[in-house]
């Protein structure tokens, strides 16, 4: 497959490296974008940290959609991303998911204090060192003075998706997720409920994107950025738990 037509299609393909958290929303947006512009989009999923490493080592990506703001900014400073292209495309919020079983065992409102219940042996959060949502959950619990009591109950996933697995399989009865992950989980077979945490405890987490400096497809990357910032895309994101 190396005819001129093929090469053209290949050159036109927009290659996006995206944080795995975007799995529920990004494929739909990419399809809509392809329909509109004719540019095929190819998505490589991964943890934000892993993809940052890949970009540092010349991975052939055009656009990077991170799950946080700090990573793209650092890459921008170091010259791996075009600084001018950095934009906040979505804001996520941390929620606490509690399974029905754990909820029915208590009359308490689903709040962080609920984690103290002996019925909840373990709760999941994303690895605070790697995932911004995990870090947010940790600082929230610290702020409320619950961390020292709860630290023994914490189990860590490398990503939000992994925490969602713990919740889905019932291995852990409660856990911290992004709202979009929690909505996905609620749509599935997992029985449970989630509450947003107070903004004081868990502020919105900005997710930034940026164009890879070595990209040979800057035009397409830019128009995908524009599309993601469009009212239509933002509306779709909002529907799926981003703000």
């Amino acid at each position: 497959p190396s005819g001129p037509g093929m090469a053209l299609a290949r050159d036109r393909t927009l290659h996006v490296a995206a944080a795995a958290d975007l799995m529920p929303v990004l494929p739909h947006l990419a399809k809509a974008f392809t329909k509109r512009s004719g540019t095929p989009v190819r998505i490589s999923w991964g943890a934000t940290g892993e993809e940052a490493l890949a970009i540092r080592h010349h991975a052939p990506y055009d656009l990077f959609l991170a799950a946080d703001a700090a990573t793209p900014e650092r890459l921008g400073r170091e010259g791996f991303l075009q600084k001018s292209s950095l934009k906040t495309y979505a804001k996520g919020i941390l929620v606490l998911w509690v399974s029905k079983k754990a909820l029915s065992a208590t009359k308490a409102l689903p709040d962080t204090a609920l984690l103290l219940q002996p019925g909840i042996r373990k709760f999941g959060l994303a690895n605070p060192r790697l995932a911004p949502y995990g870090h947010a959950a940790l600082s929230c619990l610290r702020k409320k003075g619950l961390w020292t009591k709860l630290r023994k109950k914490a189990v860590y996933g490398n990503s939000l998706a992994q925490v969602a697995w713990y919740l889905r399989t019932g291995t852990a009865p409660a856990g911290f997720l992004s709202e979009s992950q929690a909505m996905g989980l609620a749509k599935g077979s997992a029985k449970g409920d989630f509450v947003a945490l107070s903004p004081a405890c868990a502020p919105y987490l900005a997710q930034e994107m940026g164009i890879v400096r070595r990209s040979k497809n800057v035009g397409a990357a830019r128009s995908f950025e524009d599309y993601l910032m469009s009212a239509e895309a933002q509306e779709y994101l909002k529907e799926h738990g981003y703000h």
């Binding site: 713990y166 399989t169 019932g170 291995t171």
Partner: protein
């Protein structure tokens, strides 16, 4: 922290390798000596756990061990706590994950025991179990050592399954390999050496010792080059 991760890794990998080496004996015995086609299928099935991506296997184990599933609930009642996120769960997952690596070399060694030696033991009055334990197993020690090494090394480096089933709890289920990964990513690739180094040193030491011991046991090493 490093300290406990190191201890955990040492305990987990030594235990896993040793249990595996023992488990591999009956399993490989069945594969090699039962003779039926069933055992060929069994062998292929065994090898399958190593074809599965670790994270997928971890997910499957999670589903199986979860207190929400009947076997998981039973196990949880017996152990007093659910299997995931505990050392026991980690051990079980490692055993399942690394089993084929231990069984392969042991089965290979069993296959190379000369049939006349087995016949002799049978003729002298040995039952199948006696022959197995007193003739087949001692003659297969090098293969068992290879199986131990592969099982050991594989457990030390294992990541996906341990992460899934263990929950990466510092001091409890966070092994050196998880720690190394965390450190590496958290520091954007600059750090991680303080976890990787002891990992490497420990493993290198263990493997080197075993290799030297194994060699010294060989009566006369064959020599292709002399003469």
């Amino acid at each position: 922290m490093i300290h406990s991760a190191l201890m955990l890794t040492v305990a987990l990998s030594l235990l896993t390798a040793t249990i595996l080496a023992l488990l591999a004996l009956p399993l490989a015995g069945w594969i090699v000596f039962s003779g039926g086609r069933a055992s060929a299928v069994g062998e292929a099935l065994l090898t399958l756990t190593l074809v599965l991506p670790p994270a997928v296997l971890g997910y499957l184990l999670l589903v199986a061990f979860s207190p929400e599933s009947p076997p998981g609930a039973l196990l949880a009642r017996i152990l007093g706590h659910p299997l995931p996120f505990s050392f026991a769960g980690l051990l079980l997952a490692s055993l399942i994950y690394s089993l084929p690596f231990a069984v392969g070399p042991v089965a290979q060694a069993f296959r190379q025991v000369p049939p006349p030696t087995l016949e002799m033991a049978r003729i002298l009055g040995g039952g199948p179990l006696t022959v197995f334990w007193k003739v087949v197993v001692p003659l297969s020690l090098p293969g068992i050592a290879t199986g131990w090494i592969l099982g050991f090394a594989h457990t030390v480096g294992e990541f996906g399954v341990v992460m899934m089933v263990g929950g990466n709890i510092p001091g409890e289920t966070r092994t050196l390999s998880l720690k190394a990964y965390d450190d590496l990513l958290a520091s954007n690739g600059r750090g991680g050496w303080e976890a990787i180094l002891p990992l490497l040193l420990f493993s290198f030491g263990a493997l080197l010792a075993l290799n030297l011991v194994r060699r010294s046991g060989v009566p006369h090493a064959p020599d292709l080059t002399r003469g």
